[in-house]
Structure formats: C-alpha cells, structure tokens
Symmetry: C2
Amino acid sequence: MPIKTNHPNKKTWMPVPANSDFPIQNIPFGVFLTRDDIITIGTRIGDHAIDLGALHQLGYFKDIPLTDDIFLQDTLNDFISDGKKTWRLVRNRISEIFDINNKDLKNNEEHKNIVLFTLDEIEMQLPVQIGDYTDFYSSKEHATNVGTMFRDPENALLPNWLHLPVGYHGRSSSIVPSGTPVRRPMGQTLPKGAEQPIFGPSKLVDFELEMAFITTDANVLGEPIPVEDAEDYIFGMVLFNDWSARDIQKWEYVPLGPFLAKNFASSISPWIVTLDALEPFRVQSPEQNPEPLPYLQQSGEKGFDIHLEASITPEGGEETRVSKSNFKYMYWTMAQQLAHHTINGCKINSGDMMGSGTISGPTPDTYGSMLELTWRGEKPIILKDGSTRKFIEDYDTVTLTAYCQKDNVRIGFGEVKTKLLPVFQPKKQ
Amino acid sequence: MPIKTNHPNKKTWMPVPANSDFPIQNIPFGVFLTRDDIITIGTRIGDHAIDLGALHQLGYFKDIPLTDDIFLQDTLNDFISDGKKTWRLVRNRISEIFDINNKDLKNNEEHKNIVLFTLDEIEMQLPVQIGDYTDFYSSKEHATNVGTMFRDPENALLPNWLHLPVGYHGRSSSIVPSGTPVRRPMGQTLPKGAEQPIFGPSKLVDFELEMAFITTDANVLGEPIPVEDAEDYIFGMVLFNDWSARDIQKWEYVPLGPFLAKNFASSISPWIVTLDALEPFRVQSPEQNPEPLPYLQQSGEKGFDIHLEASITPEGGEETRVSKSNFKYMYWTMAQQLAHHTINGCKINSGDMMGSGTISGPTPDTYGSMLELTWRGEKPIILKDGSTRKFIEDYDTVTLTAYCQKDNVRIGFGEVKTKLLPVFQPKKQ
C-alpha cells in the first residue's frame, strides 16, 4: 500500500490559511467532543476538524475493511491496532475526498454540515488511552548538559549512555492534553547544606521540550522487534511537555530514578501526526561512535527534521520564545528506542507512548529545558515584559510547537499549551 | 457499612479442605474463563470458583446497587471503581449466601450447577487491567542488603531512604497471571573488568518476593490523598513476583533506574484478597526513626502479619523452599506509600497496582531474592535434588505463597507459580 498523500503539489478544496500546520498533506488523527456532545475520531485540514465517524457512516470509506464503529470511539487505540496498511488506506481515501478535483463531498452541503466543524465547535481530548508510557533520554546535548551540571564536566555522559538508549517508565495516568492546566506539586526536598528534608511546594518547576511516538501492537511477550522493522509499529508523533520538579527530583531519584518529580503531570498535543506524513522530512541521524551493538544498528535515514520551539507567556502578558531546537539532534532514533525497549521481550501495545527525552541542540538557545537554558538558574531569561525567569512561575503558560518544512509544504503538530497553577489548597474542614 | 465476614466461627455449607487458603472468611475476587468459554468475575470458597455474573443474573444480589453487567466483564476495574461500600455489600451478601445456615442456594441444584465450578473447569485471568504499576522499595532489610553488596556496608541506605518510600514506575504490559511462563531476557551487560558491553542472554535472572495492592479511583489530578484516608482506596492485595535480570540492571540503571532488567515480565497471583478480609491480621508496623514528615505520619496498626514463602522446583524435580519472610517487616506501609505517591497530585485510577518491593526479613533465611539469599552467588543454595542455584535456571519453576493465620482462621493468597523458559530464538528466515 503506497503513500498517496505527500505530493507537494497536492491541493484541497478546503480553505487552508497560509502557514497552517494542517495542509492536505498532513491528515493527522485525534479525538474530539463535538457541538452535539458526541465523542468521535477525526482529522483536521486547515482550521476545520473532520468527523471521521460521520464520514464513515455516510459511506465515504466503503471498500476499506473497517468495523462500523471504528471511528465512533473515545480513543484511537482500536484503529491504531488495525495496523499500518489500514492507516494508509484511510489516509489515502481522506486525501482523495478532500482533493481539489473531487466534488463528491465538496458539492454535498448536507454531508458537509454533518462532518465539518470549526475549531471553536469542538474540544480536543487525549487521542489514545496510554497503556504504558516510557521516556527516553536520547539527546546527547541534554544528557551532557545535565551530567555537566550535576556530576562531572569531564565525564558528563555515564558509561552506558553511548551504548544504549537510556530510558525509564513514566506514569500514564497523569498525561493530559493541551489546554489542561497543571498544578505545581508539593513534595520533599533537601535544601542546600541541610541534613533533613523539608516539605513544601516545589520551587524549581520546569518544562521539558520533547516529542513522543505512539505505537501499535507490536509483539507478543517474550519476542523482540528487530530494529529494521521497528518503524512499522510507530503510528505517529505528538509534542510532549514532560513537566519536571527539579528540586524534588534531586532528592528522590537515587537509586531508582525520577518518580514524583515527573508524575504530577505531562502534557501532549492532541493531533497525532503519522509517520507517513513525516516521510518527506527524513534526514540522517547523528553519527554514532562507538558503533552500537548489532541489534541497534540501523540503515537509511532514521532521523526527522522537525523544528521545535518553546515559549513562556506570563498571565495576561506577551509570549516570549525561549528555545528553538530540532528533533534531528536526537542521537538515538525512534527505531533504535523501540528495538532496545523490546530486545528483552517487553510487550508493546496499541496506544503506548514513548517520549524522546528533552531535545537540546548544540547551542544555548537550542536547549530544551529551563534547567539548561538558565544553567540551573545562574543565567535567568528575560521575558518581553521585562520580568525574569529561572524556572516556571505560577500562572505562566508554556507552549511547545513543532513543524517540518520542505518544497513549500509545512507539516505541523499544532501546539501543546499548558498553564501552571499554584499548589493545591485543601478545603478547610 | 460494617464488615460481616470475618468472624472466626463463621462456617459454610461448601466443602473447604483443611488448611485451605479460601475459607468463607476470605471471599477474594478474580476473573476466570469458564468451561463454556465465558469470561466472568468470581470468588472462591475452598476448591470451588463461584461465578458472580451468574449469581447476579439469578437475583442473589438484588437490593445492592449494581449494574446488570458489573460481573460480566473481563476485568474487575469497574467493580473496584464502585468503591468500598459496594465491595462490602457484595462480600457481606456472598458470606450470607454460603453461610452454613442459609439453604437458598444450598438446596437449589439447578442454580448450583450454573454458578459453581471446580478449579479444573476454569482458567484464571489477570484480575484487573493494570493502568499504571508502581514498585516501591520499602523493606529496610532488602535495601540494606542491596546497598551493602553494591555500594558501601557503612552507608548501605541512601540518604533519602528513611525519609520517604522510594519507588519507581514499572511496566504494566508485561504483567502476567500465575501459570504463564516467562522467557529469560536478552540484553546488554558489562562483564567484570570490561570496557565495552556485550550482548546475550541474562545470566543472573532472579525472582523478587513481593506483594502488591490494587487501588480504586482515588483522586483527581492535582489533589493528594491524606495518609489517614489512603486505605479506603485500597481494594486488596496479591502476591507479586517481580522478575529481575541483575546483570542487565547493573549496566543500565544509572541514572534513571531499572528498565529492561525488570520489564520483561512480572507475575501476580490471580485472586485479589480484600483489605477487609485482612483486617484481623493487622499489626503495628516497624518503628520509624527518624519520624517521617507530617504527611507520612500514620496512627494505628497499618502493618499486616502475612507469612510469605518462596520455592524453586527444577523441571521434573522436587520443590525446595528457599525463603520464608513476612509482610509485617515492611518499613513503609501501604498507607504511607499511597499518600506519598499522591502528595504531588499524581492521579490514581481503578486497577492501578503498587508493589511493595522485595520483602526481606532480618535473617538470611528470610531474604526475598536469590541475590540476597546467595549473597550475589557467593553462597549457592542446595536444592532437594542436590543441585545448586546461584540464580534461576531455565525450566525452573518459582512459586510464591502467602497466608495469614489467627484464631484457627487461615486467609491465604493461593500462589503465583511461574516457569522460566530459555531465551527467545527467532525463526530462521
């Protein structure tokens, strides 16, 4: 099943604003609540959401082997479970339906009224029920920065880092979609020089500029996925802000890793951009030295040229961009991450999510967290309103965006936008 | 709603073998496939499983507010979500139905034929869909043993250990019920003295003798659960074998914690024993010094006197008990674990699982892993057949059991029994 959606000259009869993240070449998948309070699976072109459940009921996907209710669900898990061939058939068909030369839906006002929504008529939901969520630590620049700050600049990378994509398990239950505010966490920290920990609000709440990929069912327990097959099990990608409380992390993380410093909240963008849509933006990933063990050796272009930005907007204030990075800096690729994750037979399900880890580039303006951008708070950032930030303050909104651009086609991810609320105050009893 | 199920003199008309783990006082919950290939929720008395879906359809739970299909499900998540009051109403009713003086079901052969199954007529399933799984590290003896072996006997416990229940996120997708064999994992390890890692089968596969508790929906994201309320959100407990590959762990675990060393498989016992059934077996938990921070301070008996055993059975050979521990040794209680887990607002869902960490007691015969029992392989264990074990060998079966005993009542957990298979061999192409 070839991809028929990516041609740069392809045009649609739908209105698409200049510089939209969602041209006819994108065709992402998401889940939304409609004006009629119905949950459905949909896609997006320009500034319109398209109800795929309704399109399917109206017969636009006939001849594609799909169950009747495949899009009338509150998560994409079952559709993702149908596999890559089905994803392509559906995206190719959507591309046809909205092609500038196809009048079937274009000239059917009744059908258009049923399936098209403006963005203010819908409310985006989490696109998948995330069974398990793993976070990697695959940006060499990020790992080097953190190692330099907290350990030893001469030996910033730990001995295993260049041999395997270091990762750990995160908490699925605290992942929320863009727009959901998150609370500053309470917790234990050890003040500098103190012998006893104290309890209180985290003082060092940070964002992490990441991307994440969503998998389909990939294997049975006990069987690895070879690195050369790994991408077949990746449905698509989202933006991912892995909120972190640096002071809690520092005290709790030995020897089992970050826990409460991370699991108070993580935020994702609601539209999953498929790997097929990203195909034209493949690039060579960074050279790996030493050469990895054979089960991690890949061929071809396994990196993706995705421009990333992070910004901070104070309450009622103006947005200031604080970082400009790129997914292509990732040392370990998604294919290597998934091959490594399953080399021991770990089971991968539909809807599992794997984060890249903070994506930092080579220069200070490309760092993907406040920890690195302000170098532990030593070099505060000045926002457009003149205020300074070492870390994120209450009521700040953090926005991550991402897009690819080539041959006048821009494929974007929209945004993940999250306001940080103050700590929870229990009601007086 | 009082607990009406625990009286030691309570008797049932069902046959219960001497020393059964499942007297009328237990009433655990599980999910099984029946002889008719139907999945249902059930309980167990003696050596019979009881189909609660069928009992409900026959009207035995009338007057209890339950949806019609609450027991006709393939997981307990929805029932657990109904909350503690409903669990008690249902267990109290089951206790009445099977009470020795109640003839309603006892004298109804037709109904008995529908609802009762012998154990060879059913196949136990995973009792819950585990959304998130967390593993703690709450046995002081275990943490001390590990710290002594791998770090410094003088400072075996890390500075945070006495101040908070250290824990980390595990992988839900690889949790299997008793009876499901698991495979020895492949992975990267760093041989002693080597500078480069090698790839191959783990040579140090170990069991971990743990218990785990299952939660109900407990909070909304951002709101902590106070320690004094925490037990209200614990549905019950299971036995838990947290399979571990010590050589993979040693190489991969800095700085983000164990990953592939753990997520190849974990095994649980299929019957969830409720916290209500364990009520008579409460004991004081170990004294905590230093006193924990206020959010972790508890009152009353929050420990449980649960006898634990681990054994190894070589293929075709005799079973050898290798450890005899007790859940009462746990330094941090389940209430403290749940309060700590949510102090930052982390969301807890119905069906989430939290492991205790390896439960080791004060003497070498009470250690809960081969790592400790053989002291890193320095003191191999001799099995009944004369063979020795430093770690677990291919085709060995590891069995964990647990029970409480008081006033001639024994409440048990059954077993979690798992055979270790050799590494996966890909088919030749």
